[in-house]
């Protein structure tokens, strides 16, 4: 009952109101002379320094869903869920150089989205449209999942109702507020709120990793309790260590997820908002602090095992909602007021990425669909306006997904999202290094990668839950005819096929001398830095000459 959780609810609501107020005030923070420009609304004026970028990108990549789902995975399957740690280590050296090149070329040409870059580099509106649609489709369920994070918290606090509307009302209100201040303040709102969100999360986790082991008998006992649970369970894949069959899956999932993460439009939005290359490089060294946090959060799953947490029932009868594990752990182990702070951290943690994702999806729509196909001569002010309205539509869509569909549907879609966003790798990431690929071949590769990825995901069943299709991302190699119980991450296979098709067809199309368009960028563009002149097309304002009236 919610009355038992009154203190938690009050603290949660107060902190929630505080950040909502900050979201509205953010419009005036580092205010530009003219907010009616997509660079201002959608990229915070491309002016964020090291600290803001650290909080913004950290708050963006490490979402509330991550904080809830990763420990839930560890709780359920053990070591396999720890892939999140190598995944978030590998990513930074991987993109250290790549994203600097993307930043530079975007700075020179005024690109706002990865599809803008592809359009210009490969001179292909179709390829750019495919990239934009892939980005939007992959991002939408990710936004919906942020709501799953909030819902897990609300459920634990007993804020539920009998009718669907009553049950979802708090989330609808929360998202309405979020939509209103994102509409007004653009990327500045999540940037400012990220300070609060991350501070709360760091405090909660530091307390949790010191206090909870002390209460539960020490780390050794926690791991032993988990070990005992997995030894007793009949499932073959669980355990506190990997077994011979899931190591390949573990490594390919970590690597594939790392490749995918920075192809997501919201990650690129966060990076493009930084003011120069140095900020990005320094952040690639500083962002792993969040990985440490994530690793410790993941271990909350084992603490929940040691503390004897039983997850709350799920939406369907007989199922359990694993995502409630962490909120329940806090509820049972922390004093009420601190559990309230922890819940607020998760709830606010959902708002930051949801805002950035909706902005990123809106930018993609505006730049690569609206401006490309609907209104060629849109002014920057019109672009900003379309983006603001689209961000509202995107959020309504995300709420509708959660209210009207089984949340499991969003989780499945997000799984698919990781696989499909990987298919933009050849055009976006490799495109930053080489224009060797033919634009037609890139399109064919995308089609092949998408087709194969979808087919593989469709084939994956989970006998334990009775799902026949889309039951995970671990593809059994025996379906390819190999005599082995090993599994592999779908995304890696799909993107390798994508690359192979793109490479082969490039050779064919080049031999057949098919027209390949004109590269709109020069090699120097990829090293441009703050202060270098921009070559933004059209009559845009002189953005770099005087970002501030007086120094």
């Amino acid at each position: 009952m919610w009355r038992d959780h009154l203190t938690e609810i009050i603290i949660f609501s107060l902190l929630f109101l505080l950040v909502s107020a900050m979201g509205f005030v953010a419009a005036r923070w580092r205010a530009p002379r003219d907010m009616a420009h997509l660079d201002e609304w959608g990229l915070g004026g491309r002016s964020f320094g090291g600290w803001i970028t650290w909080f913004l990108v950290g708050g963006d990549l490490y979402t509330a869903y991550t904080f809830v789902a990763v420990p839930a995975l560890i709780f359920g399957a053990g070591a396999a869920g720890f892939f999140a740690v190598p995944y978030t280590i590998v990513i930074y050296p991987l993109v250290f150089l790549v994203l600097c090149r993307l930043w530079s070329v975007s700075h020179r040409h005024g690109f706002v989205t990865p599809a803008d870059f592809v359009r210009n580099r490969f001179d292909s509106p179709i390829l750019a449209l495919l990239i934009a649609i892939t980005g939007i489709v992959a991002t939408m369920p990710y936004i919906a999942l942020q709501l799953v994070g909030i819902e897990a918290v609300l459920k634990t606090m007993g804020v539920t109702g009998d009718s669907a509307l009553a049950r979802h009302l708090p989330i609808i209100i929360a998202f309405a507020i979020l939509a209103a201040y994102t509409y007004q303040s653009g990327l500045r709102a999540p940037a400012l709120i990220a300070f609060v969100k991350d501070s709360l999360i760091y405090i909660v986790i530091l307390v949790a990793v010191v206090y909870l082991p002390y209460k539960l008998g020490g780390w050794g006992d926690i791991f032993d309790a988990a070990d005992a649970k997995f030894k007793a369970s009949p499932a073959p894949g669980d355990g506190i260590l990997l077994n011979a069959n899931n190591q390949l899956q573990y490594v390919t999932l970590a690597f594939g997820s790392a490749l995918a993460l920075f192809l997501y439009p919201h990650s690129i939005t966060g990076v493009l908002a930084s003011k120069n290359r140095d900020v990005i490089k320094r952040n690639m060294s500083a962002l792993p602090a969040y990985s440490l946090l994530l690793g410790l959060i993941a271990l909350l799953g084992y603490m929940a095992i040691a503390a004897g947490v039983k997850p709350l029932p799920g939406a369907k009868a007989g199922s359990v909602d694993g995502n409630t594990v962490v909120p329940l752990l806090f509820d049972s182990q922390f004093p009420d007021w601190f559990a309230g702070v922890a819940y607020a951290a998760i709830g606010i943690g959902a708002l930051v990425p949801a805002a950035i994702m909706s902005i990123a999806a809106a930018n993609l729509f505006t730049r690569n669909i609206y401006k490309e196909y609907l209104k060629r001569d849109a002014s920057p002010a019109q672009e900003a306006n379309v983006s603001k309205i689209t961000s509202l539509v995107v959020k309504v869509g995300a709420v509708a997904c959660i209210v009207f569909l089984d949340p499991q549907f969003s989780i499945d879609l997000q799984l698919i999202g990781g696989v499909i966003i990987l298919q933009t790798l050849p055009a976006v990431a490799l495109g930053l290094y080489t224009r060797w690929f033919h634009r037609g071949a890139l399109i064919a590769g995308w089609v092949a990668g998408m087709g194969l990825g979808m087919w593989m995901l469709y084939q994956i069943a989970n006998p334990a839950t009775g799902k026949k299709h889309f039951a995970g991302s671990a593809f059994p190699l025996e379906k390819f005819g190999f005599d082995t119980p090993k599994t592999i991450y779908v995304g890696i296979v799909a993107v390798l096929v994508n690359l192979a098709v793109a490479a082969l067809l490039t050779l064919v199309l080049r031999a057949a001398k098919v027209a390949d368009g004109v590269d709109g960028t020069t090699p120097d563009d990829y090293f441009a830095d703050e202060g270098d002149p921009r070559v933004t097309p059209g009559a845009e304002r002189d953005a770099d000459a005087a970002p501030e009236p007086v120094a």
């Binding site: 580092r30 002016s47 320094g49 070591a79 720890f82 740690v85 190598p86 280590i89 590998v90 930074y92 050296p93 991987l94 250290f96 150089l97 600097c100 090149r101 530079s104 082991p213 020490g218 780390w219 050794g220 006992d221 926690i222 791991f223 506190i240 260590l241 990997l242 190591q247 573990y250 490594v251 970590a254 690597f255 140095d278 490089k281 320094r282 690639m284 060294s285 500083a286 792993p288 990985s291 440490l292 690793g295 271990l299 120097d524 563009d525 990829y526 090293f527 441009a528 830095d529 703050e530 202060g531 270098d532 002149p533 770099d544 000459a545 005087a546 970002p547 501030e548 007086v550 120094a551």
Partner: protein, 81 residues
Amino acid sequence: MAAPEPEAPTTARSRAKDHSPWNWLLFIPIVVPLIPAFFNADSPRLFGFPRFYWLQLAWIILGVATTTLVYQMTKKRGGDR
């Protein structure tokens, strides 16, 4: 916030490119964390953590150290490289 420097701006053409041999070091923190043979074991335990967990958390330090080193060694060159 600093206004743009008043000095003559260095253009991309005059600036060093990303071709430093130091960049090859970045492969270490990409490859090492993806080799399960290193970490997929229980012993030795450290503060109660099985090796699987403390070693993978330690790779974070490896990643930070490498990116920091590469950044420091490749930034702000005068005219060379």
